[in-house]
Amino acid sequence: MIRDITIGQYYKAKSVIHRLDPRVKLVCTLLFLISLFLTRSVMTYLLATLWLFVVIKTSKVPFRFVMRGLKAIVILLVVTAMLNLFMLKGGDVLVKIGRFTITEAGLSATVYLAVRLIYLIIGSSLMTLTTTPTQLTDGLESLLGPLKKIHVPVHEIAMMMSIALRFIPILLEETDKIMKAQLARGADFENGNIFHRVKGMIPILVPLFVSAFRRANDLALAMEARCYHGGEGRTRMKPLHYQKRDYIAYAVMIVYMVLSFCGGKWLPLHFWVF
C-alpha cells in the first residue's frame, strides 16, 4: 500500500500543457504568481480567472484535482481573512457587532487576499499536476544553469532532488517496517501526550537514519561504478529542447502579462481599490 504513494501530485493525461517544456511551465507559473501580486484591479482578477479556466480546460485535469490543493491552506485562508476583515479600518463602516466592525477597506482587502491566495495555489498546483517530478528537476537544473558561473552546484542539487524522489517511497516503506518491528516489541505510538509521542518516534528515527546512511553509501559506490563524476562532460538521455508549442506558450504568456499590467487602465469598466 505504502509503495503506491506517488510523490508530487502528477495527473497523467495527454494534453498540450502536459507536453510543454518544464522550463516554460516553471517560468509561466512564476510570471503568473507575480502578476497576481503586482496588480489590484477587478479586471486583472477577471483576467486571471479566465486564464486559469482556459489552462485547466486545456490541461484536461479534472476540476476537483485542481481544487484538492486548496485543502492544505483552508485554515491559513480563514485565519488571515478573519484578521483582515476585522482589523483593517478605513472607509465606511458596513457592519457593527459589539466591539467588532467591518469596514469597506477591510472587506475589499479580505476578498483580494483570499482570491490571491486561492489563485496562487491553483496556479502552482496546475504546474505540479501536469509535470512529472523528473521533468521539474530537469527544468530547474536547466533554468538555474547560469548560477553555475557563481559556483552554485546546480547539477548536484538537481541530482540530489531526483535521488530523493527515487528513495522517498523506499524510506517510507522502511519506516513502516521499523514501526511494525517496534510495535511488535511493545512500543506505543498512539497514547500519551504530545511529548510522549514525539519521544516514541526516537526508536523509529534512529534505525531509519542508520539505514538511510547505509543506503547512501551503497548508492554512492554504485554510482561511481557507473562512471558518475559530477555534471562535467555528462550528456543527457532526454535533453530539453524548445518546440514550436513552447514558443507559442511564451508568446501567450507575454500577452497575458501585458494585459494584466495595463488591464485596469485601458478597460472602461475598471476601478482601483486604493
Binding site: T134, I163, R166, R215, A225, C227, R234, R236
Partner: protein, 279 residues
C-alpha cells in the same frame, strides 16, 4: 581480462573516538587471472575478502601493494579510471541501492550519460539493453514497482549499456527469492553467450557449478583454485573453509561412502540421474 598480482589490501580500523587503532589485512598476496569470455566464481564465507577483491577489480578500492590490471590498464593510474570502470561493470548485492533513475529506462541510460555518450546513441543502447535483459515491458515503470529479480536484471541492463567487457557481480542473488535467483542466473548465461566475462561472487555453491573456474577465499587468501569438478570433489577441504558443497555433491559423497560406484565429477542433478540410471 583482469589480472591481479600479489595484491594486498589493508584497511584501518577506528576506535569509538575516531582514532586509527589498527590495520586489518583484508587481502593478502592474492593473484588471480580472469580470462576473456570466461565465467569465474569467487567463493568464500562472510568476511573472507571476496567483496573487497571485487571492488579492487574496478578501481573502487586501490591496492595497498601489488597491482591489478583491468583490460591491460593498471587500476592505480587515475587517468584510466573511467575506462576501467567502463570495461569492468559492477552489479551489487542490494537491488534497491544501485538504481538511480526514477523510471526504468532512465536508469539504464545513467551509465552512458555519465560517459558522455551522445543522446541518439544512448537511446540505441537503452533500447538494446532493455531487450537483452527482457525488461522492455517495464521501461516506463518506476523501479519501486519491480520484483527483486527484475531489479537485478535492470541493474545488469544498466551495466550493459556502458558496453563493458566484463561484468563483476557481488552477491547479486543474496537478497532474492529462488525465482529471482533463477532470473539472475539466466541473465548470466545470456551474458556469457555474448562473450562477456562474468565474475560471480557468491556463497551459493549451486551457482558456482557452471563456472569455468573457481577461486575459494578465506581470511584474505586464495585457498583453492580449480574447475568446479576439482573444487567440489574435495568436500572435506571446502567444508573446512566454511562452505557447503552443492547438494548433489553431498549426495554423491554419501553414495560413494555407501559403496555405490560413482564418479566424483558429478555436479548437477541431471548428471547424477544419468549416472545412476546407467549403473
Amino acid at each position: 581480462m583482469i589480472h591481479a598480482k600479489s595484491l594486498t589490501y589493508d584497511y584501518e580500523t577506528f576506535d569509538s573516538e575516531g582514532n586509527a587503532d589498527g590495520v586489518v589485512r583484508a587481502l593478502d598476496d592474492i593473484s588471480v587471472d580472469i580470462e576473456h569470455g570466461k565465467f569465474v566464481a569467487i567463493l568464500g564465507r562472510n568476511g573472507s575478502g571476496k567483496s573487497t577483491l571485487a571492488k579492487q577489480m574496478n578501481a573502487l578500492l586501490l591496492p595497498t601493494s601489488g597491482t591489478v590490471w583491468v583490460d591491460g590498464k593498471d587500476t592505480k593510474n587515475q587517468d584510466d579510471l573511467w575506462d576501467i570502470r567502463q570495461s569492468a561493470g559492477m552489479v551489487f548485492q542490494n537491488p534497491d541501492n544501485q538504481i538511480v533513475g526514477t523510471v526504468v529506462e532512465e536508469d539504464v541510460g545513467f551509465g552512458p550519460e555519465n560517459m558522455g555518450v551522445p543522446t541518439e546513441e544512448i537511446w540505441v543502447r537503452v533500447n538494446k539493453c532493455l531487450k537483452r535483459m527482457g525488461m522492455e515491458p517495464f521501461r516506463y515503470e518506476s523501479p519501486n514497482a519491480l520484483s527483486g529479480g527484475q531489479k537485478q536484471r535492470l541493474s545488469i541492463a544498466g551495466i550493459l549499456a556502458m558496453e563493458p567487457k566484463c561484468v563483476i557481480m557481488d552477491e547479486p542473488t543474496a537478497m532474492l527469492d529462488p525465482g529471482g535467483r533463477r532470473e539472475v542466473m539466466k541473465a548470466i548465461k545470456d551474458l556469457l553467450a555474448e562473450h562477456l566475462s562474468v565474475v560471480l561472487i557468491t556463497h551459493y555453491m549451486e551457482e558456482a557449478v557452471e563456472a569455468d573456474y573457481i577461486y575459494v577465499m578465506d581470511s584474505g587468501h586464495v585457498v583453492m583454485t580449480g574447475t568446479p569438478v576439482e573444487i567440489f570433489s574435495d568436500t572435506e577441504t571446502i567444508k573446512k573453509y566454511g562452505l557447503q558443497p552443492p547438494q548433489v555433491v553431498q549426495v554423491v559423497d554419501e553414495l560413494i561412502k555407501k559403496g555405490v560406484p560413482l564418479n566424483r565429477n558429478i555436479l548437477t542433478t541431471e548428471e547424477l540421474v544419468q549416472a545412476l540410471c546407467h549403473q
